[in-house]
């Protein structure tokens, strides 16, 4: 009953909902094989974003990928969006069953 667990990187981005389409396009270009999005609200350096209307809504995006891809995505997002948009990003180490699924 033992399932072999391999290591993989989970990159999580919280940002303005208006970036969804652009971000999804970027992820594909940068080699992510998939992503998961949930609707979110929150607060940070750009003030309270309470999702009461579309300009004030956030999304929370998760990408499972290898460390190199995560680094590339993080780098790109920082370059492209950090200056102008509400955005936060963090990575963690997780175990997956089929690591091939998440490599480009």
């Amino acid at each position: 009953m033992s399932v072999p667990i391999a290591r993989c990187t989970l990159l999580t981005v919280v940002c303005e909902a208006s970036l969804e389409d652009d971000l999804v396009a970027d992820l594909g270009t940068l080699g992510a094989t998939g992503y998961t999005i949930t609707d979110a609200r929150g607060s940070g350096a750009h003030g309270v974003r309470d999702a009461a209307w579309p300009p004030g809504a956030n999304i929370r995006v998760e990408v499972l990928c290898d460390g190199r891809t995560a680094e590339a995505i993080a780098h790109h997002l920082e370059e492209r969006y950090y200056a102008d948009y509400a955005m936060v990003l963090f990575t963690s180490d997780v175990g997956v069953l089929r690591p091939r699924k998440f490599a480009p």
Binding site: E16, S18, D22, D39, G47, V48, D50, A51, A52, W53, P54, P55, G56, A57, Y81, A83, D84, Y85
Partner: protein, 314 residues
């Protein structure tokens, strides 16, 4: 009765926000209501259009759009020089005020209807036509024409954007189906229109109240701009409407369009096209000040301007 009753829902929403009530309008209800309002306004305009030869409108429409382009072009230098705003911020705010607010237009229509006053039905076509040129002008002003603007992306955002798509889609459906074809939908789109507007205004009151805090960053200049700009643009609209031969109601509606500032289409487009502009400034002024100003004082003011210009007694 000084107020159109739907405005009271805006005040109720604003009160709830200021009292920090736990009343929250679900974001999904906001989206559903805005889809309804955009479609319904489009349908109404389309039914009107189906009654008139479209060709006759072309000249009027061209004039209305050309004059409206003056609004962002005049606002920009004022914001830059008098206000000392950064180029991107000035351009983005100019785009918001150059474009139009669908809900302000709807309230003005309800206000006229409450006084049993009519207006030309094709004003809705002008609403659609006025929504986007200012957005393009705003982007040009921000970029100074040189930098790498993602034009494809921006134009797609504007023309395939929800607002234009639903307004134009409703217009075409109403025009194709005509008054008779739309009749079975009247119960939904026309009879419930004002009730839906009331709900939407309740929500906008809540949102506007939560934006008031951001106005502190805006400073006295922007507060003054948010009142002076609609009055100036409204006067321009009342004059243009009168010169084009619109009725008092029609001229008042055109004035309201010119005076109103967009907070649905413009924020979405500017966020993509001019991301370095601070949205708190443009949305705070457009929604926090200009929108309630137009609702409470502007509409009656533009109407009496139109009345005076056309020499009609009260």
């Amino acid at each position: 009765m000084p107020f159109e009753p739907v405005i009271l829902f805006f005040l109720l929403g604003a009160a709830a926000g200021l009292l920090r009530s736990d009343l929250k309008i679900p974001g999904v209800l906001y989206e559903s209501l805005s889809i309804f309002l955009l479609l319904a306004i489009g349908l109404k305009g389309g039914v009107e259009l189906s009654r008139h030869p479209v060709a006759e409108l072309l000249g009027q429409a061209a004039a209305v759009v050309a004059v409206a382009a003056l609004i962002p072009l005049a606002a920009f230098p004022v914001l830059r020089r008098l206000g000392g705003l950064a180029r991107a911020d000035a351009a983005s705010i100019a785009a918001h005020y150059g474009s139009v607010s669908v809900v302000t237009f709807a309230v003005a229509g309800a206000w006229l209807a409450g006084r049993n006053e009519s207006a030309e039905g094709h004003l809705v076509v002008f609403l659609v036509l006025l929504e986007f040129p200012a957005l393009v002008i705003g982007v040009l002003l921000a970029r100074g024409g040189n930098a790498a603007t993602p034009w494809r992306r921006v134009l797609h955002e504007v023309f395939a954007g929800k607002s234009i798509l639903l307004l134009v889609g409703g217009l075409l459906i109403g025009w194709a189906a005509g008054a008779d074809g739309i009749r079975p939908l009247d119960r939904m789109f026309f009879d419930l229109f004002k009730g839906m507007l009331a709900f939407f205004l309740l929500e906008m009151g809540l949102v506007a109240a939560s934006r008031l805090g951001e106005l502190r960053r805006a400073g006295a200049f922007l507060l003054a701009f948010a009142v002076a700009m609609p009055v100036a643009a409204g006067a321009l609209g009342a004059l243009t409407g009168t010169l084009l031969g619109l009725s008092v109601g029609g001229a008042a509606l055109l004035a309201t369009l010119y005076a109103s500032a967009s907070y649905i289409a413009a924020p979405a487009a500017m966020r993509i096209a001019v991301p370095e502009a601070n949205p708190a400034l443009s949305i705070g002024t457009a929604l926090g000040i200009t929108f309630p100003f137009n609702l409470l004082l502007g509409i009656p003011l533009y109407h009496s301007l139109a009345r005076h210009l056309q020499g009609v007694p009260a």
